[in-house]
Amino acid sequence: MKKLLFFTFLMLFGWIAQAQDRIVTGTVTASEDGAPIPGVTVVVKGSNTGTNTDAKGTYRLTLPANGTTLVFSAVGFGRKEEEINGRTTIDVVLQSSVESLNEVVVTAQGIERDTRSLGYATQNVNGSALAQRSEPNVLNTLQGKVAGVNITSSSGAPGASTNINIRGITSFNGSNQPLVVVDGIIFNNDVDNSQNTLFGSQPSSRLADISPESIESINVLKGPAASVLYGSRASAGVIVITTKSGKGLNGKTEVTFNSSVNWQNVAYLPKLQNQYGQGTQNNYVNNSTNSWGPAFGTPGFETVQNFRGETVPYRAYPNNIRDFYKTGTMFQNALNIAGGDQNNNFAATISSTIQNGVVRESDFDRHSVQVGGNSKLKNGIKLGGTITYVKSAQKNTLMGNGGSAFGQITRIPRSYDLVNTPYLDPLTGEDFYFVNGQNHPLWSIQNTFFNSNVDRVFGNLSVGYDITNWLNVSYRVTADTYTDNRKQIQRVGAARAPQGQIDEDLRFRSELNGDLLINAKKNDLFVQGLNANLLLGQNLNQRSYRESGVISESLAIPGFDNVGVGSVFTKSYASTNRRRLVGHYGQLSLDYKSYLFLELSGRVDQSSTLPKEQNAYFYPSAALSFVPLEAFNVKTEAVSYLKVRGNIARVGRDADPYRLQSFFTSATFGNNVADITFPLNVGGTSLPGFQPDGRIGSTNLKPEFVNSFEVGLNVGFFNNRLGVDFTYFNTRSTSQIFNVAISNSSGYDTRTTNIGEMQNKGIELQLSATPIRTSSFKWDVLLNFTRIRNKVVAISEGVNNSNITGDSFSGIAPSIAVGYPYGVIIGTANARTESGELLVNPNTGLFVPGIAGQVISNPQKDWVAGLTNNFSYKGFTLSALVDVNKGGQLYSFSQVDMRNAGQTEITGVDRNQPRILPGVILNADGTTRPNNIQISAQSYWQSLGGLASQGAVFDATAYRLREVALNYALPSSLLSRTPFGNISIGVSGRNLWMYAPGFPSDPEINTQGAGNIQGLDLNGIPTTRNYGVNLRVTF
């Protein structure tokens, strides 16, 4: 669609131009390789006369009488001005933009804009920085490359979801993931966690359906001012993705083939001790999960009897955990055919990703077909459209602290030969394992798993027409729809479902959008040099979601994974969820002599999810951009560019569907100890049973709002070889629609209401530099820095904290708490004296019981930075990204497990020495004395804290070599006699090096996946290190 709009603008420019006799022609080439650049916009400065270059990079323009200067701009290239000075041929060399000082980017509703006119921060990432990076997930490839953005992948499992927040968290309860727009299509990126996130799989966030290789560019719209035209849903920012197309090939047909193979290994497992084996209190215990047994080599312990009565050697198996993992592989292939010209073009892409993860039997496959094209009909109507079909399949084992492979892998004694000890009972198909009631991890990954099969179709169709030379009307329809056929299997013998369980779950999601866009343009409005553009739009939106499923248990045919083999159907369900929205919006853009820009926007939304009588809400924004050097006509060598900008904006947001009423729900009771689900089968009669839902509705909900202001500065030094882009922003989120936790003795768990206030203050800094640039060698540096301070200012009267909606363990509650950042963990803190010393029990030498209800962990990072270095020499390009996540805390079950079990390296140091816990003992008179009670190493390490304690909190700071890519493009001289246009080969690696001073493993783990609950490692899958080779051929 945006291509169509783009052409529409071009046509407008063309038609407004008046007949003149002066004509300028020329060729635009790229500075790096001298190749012609098609599609460059060429405009006469101060007018709306313009054209664009063809496939050969040439243009021809008829000049108006007052034209003195030409402005050249193109996506991905710097902007350049040339004074005409009577010339009739003007050839121009454009540099690919080091940094977005002067470039054309795609903004809200697909509008292409020169960045100089923008009163807000956006950041553009070229597709070449995302492709061939040993990473199949688009969001992961963005890590470290965009300021103001926090990206955390949830684990190394294939297809696992990735959390992304732009400019912090702005909603207590709503999604804080940005809106994703792919080629104008609002693109669903939900996770749809089906099961309890404390125990289950890691489904994908659905942007996983897009391959990084298919992306032309990504523009990140950060603040409300940038995204206001997208309405309510863009309050968390927008990721605008443009896929590769045939645009700009003018007449030529190009075939591109990409292929890569990558390998994955498990990365950063913690260091473990190898001196002590299975047991407790220095005794060998053959069904213990501890490694507090006798030291290896202790006389009498050369061999021991294992849990099956076999005599086995008692020795360390240093790699018993590492050997649990395997080398994963990832094959990516894509074929793209594109061709046509400006008015009529097409593109078709076939791509395929096949990934086998580091955990056995885990994989992610993605196959897609895309076709699209644009055409201008003889009657002047412009048509464009794309359609894409994607088939994604994911298989992963289940996770969680009980009854999963990853709940056990942290409890394997150092003397247990995990991989080589036989575990399969050939008679029953069940497992032999030394822990009662649990499964051998290898058995678990083979017999408890989750499959997700997604069939997705998305596309758009747009029709546009120029009514007059200043008025254009277009309509665009977009659709995104998928089914996700999920199946969670726990075969007979599984710890959580000893008689087996199959959960068959079918999900359907669709989103339809209709957008009417009316664009009017007037130059020299009131005064010479004041150009105005008015955009009016209407948006109709419908989102539907359906889910139905059945759970069967007591499986009659072990190993035959069909829901029909269950003898008991414990649950069947069906639900539908639908919402609609009608939006009207307008945007007036004023441009005074290309140095002063003002943009006023407003939108009114009416939402089906709010009470009928108050379902409409309006929100405005204003953005100003000023380019003083241009205004005062000052040019210096040192400061080559300067822009100051600022904006103020407000975005409203509606509720989720069906939040207005309280209702009943089919009853269930119990927890993971024991549970029942109605209908209850008693004495052969099936009895339905209902109970009040735990949430109280509100018939008086109002929209929630995010108010923000932002100021920024763009400076270019030394002909823009050094660029600075600085932004300060401040957002205030108010009247949040939230399910406030209420006293359970009220009979309910939460109450939906408008409450609270939250603040985000932050700075974003981008530094870009080209320290060296010669004809054959170039070194570019790009630094991104983000620092965001989030604070929950208020919740509601008398409420100082409340749980975030989602699953949590008792005593480890992801929460909002007044005065703290969003998402802190509330749990049990160690008891301390008033001066902060830990209190020790005089009878035991252990810590006294902790105090519940305290903020013990804060997952929000202090700051995030990414440093990219690009070197290019002749055909070689080398790119390396180092990023830093400073601060933030991770709550880790895995590390507590390994510490308590005496596995981690530190627990093996001086184990036979008694220890004293740091702290004091309270005397009878209220004074204290230092703790002097000696305890064993086992007691010491175990008393540092169990799963639900402050001892599970770790600093998540990590320094990382995120990615390295080396590519070589064969010189064109070699290819001139071949059918090939380009051939490049490369190697790449990802997550190659990491240093985490406060955590024994990789802290980039987030077991509950993308969503508002962050900073928990509840026995998740570790991260991976990827590396591979790739090939790219065009002909």
Partner: protein, 475 residues
Amino acid sequence: MACSVVALSSCSDYLDINQNPNNPITVPPATLLPSGLAGSAFSNANDLNRFASVIMSVTAGANGSPVTWDRYNTDGSDFGNQWRFEIYGGALINYQKLIEVAQTSNSNAYVGIAKIMKAYTFSIATDVWGDVPYSQALQGDANTQPRLDTQKEIYLGDNAKGIQSLFDLVKEGLADLEKTSSTTPGSDDIVYGGTIENWKKAGNTLLLKLALQISSVEPAKAKSIIDEVIQGNDFITTNAQNLAVNFGSQVGSQSPIYTYTYNSSFSTDQLISTRFVTLLQGLKDPRLPLFVTRPTGNYVTIDNGFAGTPPQAANRSMFSSYVTGENGEGPVRLITNWQRAFILAESAIRLGTAGDAQKLYEEGIRTSMASAGISDADISAYFTANPTVVTLAGSNEEKIKQIITQKYISLYGNGLEQWNDWRRTGYPTLAQHQNAVGVDGTRPVRARYIDQEIARNPNFPNNILQNVRVWWDVN
């Protein structure tokens, strides 16, 4: 996309789609009763029973939480699910809604049952936690931070503060059962299958239980209630009249005790304690083999607080089908005939209420044994062979000790009532567990308030540990 540019007037219809198609706003009484009853059964028999059975030395911890409890440790992260989703946000809010829904349709039978069961379930909350929200609880939006009523106020009521006593709540329910009812329960009543006469007996027997609970601290009040019930002569007198919740034999419909004993990853957490087996062996009690399983042919148990390697899961002695049902049917016995007999026996001695303590004591033992499946002849043989066991002797205190010891055995599988009696009377005499820690090495006499309530409701104190006695526990 019915709403278009030219037809914006239809937008209000276009947007009128916010009625929840998945969940009803109101439901009939027959769908609230079974979920309420199952909720009460879970309140009694799920995690709180795991806890109470361990600290009452009936079971012993082999893994997980029961190991912690066995050492008298408990904290505010224990029983959050019970408080939130089984008691207040489970059974109690169900009964509250059932009362409201049933009253609008004059379904007085449902109203009466709901009030009786509401009183029973509130008694679990106050007996376990002491002072709890009661008069201001279950009001939803109207009071999101209810105050705590003292246990004394809950049992005795306080007109000035608008607190109805548990006794009056039960009596109100009994009065509702006397009224005509537009609809009556049938198979949705998973206790009595709709027999209202039995509900009346259950309500009166609940009055006996509640009265005895406060007999040490409010003997006069207890006596007047018990006298009144004896006078009315309509209480549980046969095993078939037990207030016992029936479950099903299929996964997802089974009694919680069955599930956590046989069909959950927590099934290896606990087994029967050596102490319980030793006690019954000492009494030559014929219920032992019927109560406790012997997969190996012998009793494979561990001592409470045991720190070594627990026996293989498959060999362990566990709750038998007497407690769990053959395939999980239960029932979960909340108030039983033998419990009534022991209550009246103790009351006769302690409060001087009507009835022959010795006969009631014998009746308690006999009906419990019969319930376990022992024939009348075998019971008589046991009585003949063990006169000292079945005969009350000595001082009143010694007799009460005898009664409660037999009551403790008969309450096998209902840890909460065993714990209630032990806290109230100190019987049976239980030895210290190995490796006991707790707050001060003593057995817990209450549960700590759950973390969520401390965080959500400032009325909850944050420093009451498990060694602080509740109001009726003065012994």
